[in-house]
Symmetry: C2
Subunit: 210 residues, 2 copies
């Protein structure tokens, strides 16, 4: 049986031999995106970095946003994996909630640009609908999280509010801290570790009976 194969090869420019062009673009875009954020990642800059014309990017991606979103997808997927891992640990549900929120903040501070793209969107970056796929990933993370909060609630340890409102309060509070740490690095912040601890311990102490 003669299999119809799709060669798909022949690099016009032998710049990247090991990687495929699409991969090269993603790599270059990631470098620029991490270093310069959304606005700094122009099509032309990415193309230059790859050593290719700007038009070439449209061979592999629908538009600029698709590139940055694919990068962010990768980042969020890592967060999802962490959440899944923590979720399955054989320890107290409250500890798992704390660890997931802590990992969330750690993730945000380590991937500020991807984090902003997904969680601080609508600031004129990307038209709501395009982010949907990536946002769904973020929502999957939240689902992992709320499941653990539900565990706490089912043992009657939730001091107030519904499972949803408690989980959302915890999540949004952490988001508030990291998003401001990211966007206002020059503010006169208390030590980050103390801040994270005060916020997390304070909220958990207030919401959960121990």
């Amino acid at each position: 049986m003669t299999v119809l194969k799709k060669p798909q090869r022949s690099a016009r420019k032998p710049k990247g031999d090991g990687h495929t062009r699409r991969g090269e673009i993603l790599e270059a875009a990631q470098r620029i995106f991490v270093a310069e954020g959304y606005q700094g990642s122009t099509i032309r800059k990415i193309a230059d970095e790859v050593g290719v014309s700007s038009t070439a990017l449209y061979m592999h991606f629908k538009d600029k946003d698709e590139i940055l979103l694919e990068i962010s997808d990768g980042a969020i997927n890592r967060l999802l994996a962490i959440n899944s891992e923590i979720s399955a640990r054989p320890i107290d549900a409250v500890s798992r909630v704390r660890m997931m929120l802590d990992a969330y903040m750690e993730f945000a501070l380590s991937n500020p640009n991807a984090y902003q793209l997904v969680f601080c969107g609508n600031t004129g970056m990307i038209s709501e609908d395009k982010v949907q796929a990536t946002q769904d990933l973020g929502e999957a993370c939240f689902q992992k999280f709320i499941a653990v909060v539900r565990e706490i609630s089912s043992t009657g340890r939730l001091r107030m509010g519904s499972v949803e409102s408690a989980a959302q309060a915890l999540w949004t509070a952490c988001h508030g801290l990291v998003s401001l740490l990211i966007t206002k690095p020059d503010f006169d912040w208390a030590p980050t570790d103390e801040l994270r601890a005060v916020l997390l311990d304070g909220l958990l102490h207030g919401l959960v009976v121990d």
Copy 2:
């Protein structure tokens, strides 16, 4: 065809029709800014709204950002006034903290675009240094707030952390809630009132002994 006659006649609007040109521009810009946000408020659109060429805006403002920031200044000043008023009420310090945070969230939800410009900045909108003046106003609001937190602390009712970290935790948590409510209106949120209550009561219960 028709001879290109130049109606170079001063299509200039009457000068003293109540508003000065600068004020007219701010008014038009505010309408567009509230309706369409930062990206939607283009120089050309604002100029069209006023009925003037885009160049004319540069007679009265250094650049686009100066216009939007002046609008935001007005908004933040209203918040500052509210904070000052609450700060002076002859009631329990904890109640005042709660009221200030509640007013903060109310303000954010009522002025989402100005709020984002000032508190979600750095997302590629405005170069950090230009926002400084407006941010200082925001910081003045925070000073009003932290003073009340300090009152609580001085009566020994702060359960954990320094005054700074407690105040910052409270503030950032509220910011997280409103900023996500603003930027992700389609998320499956718990009722807003319940969310605000759970977050505020939970955090205060955790941080303050009563």
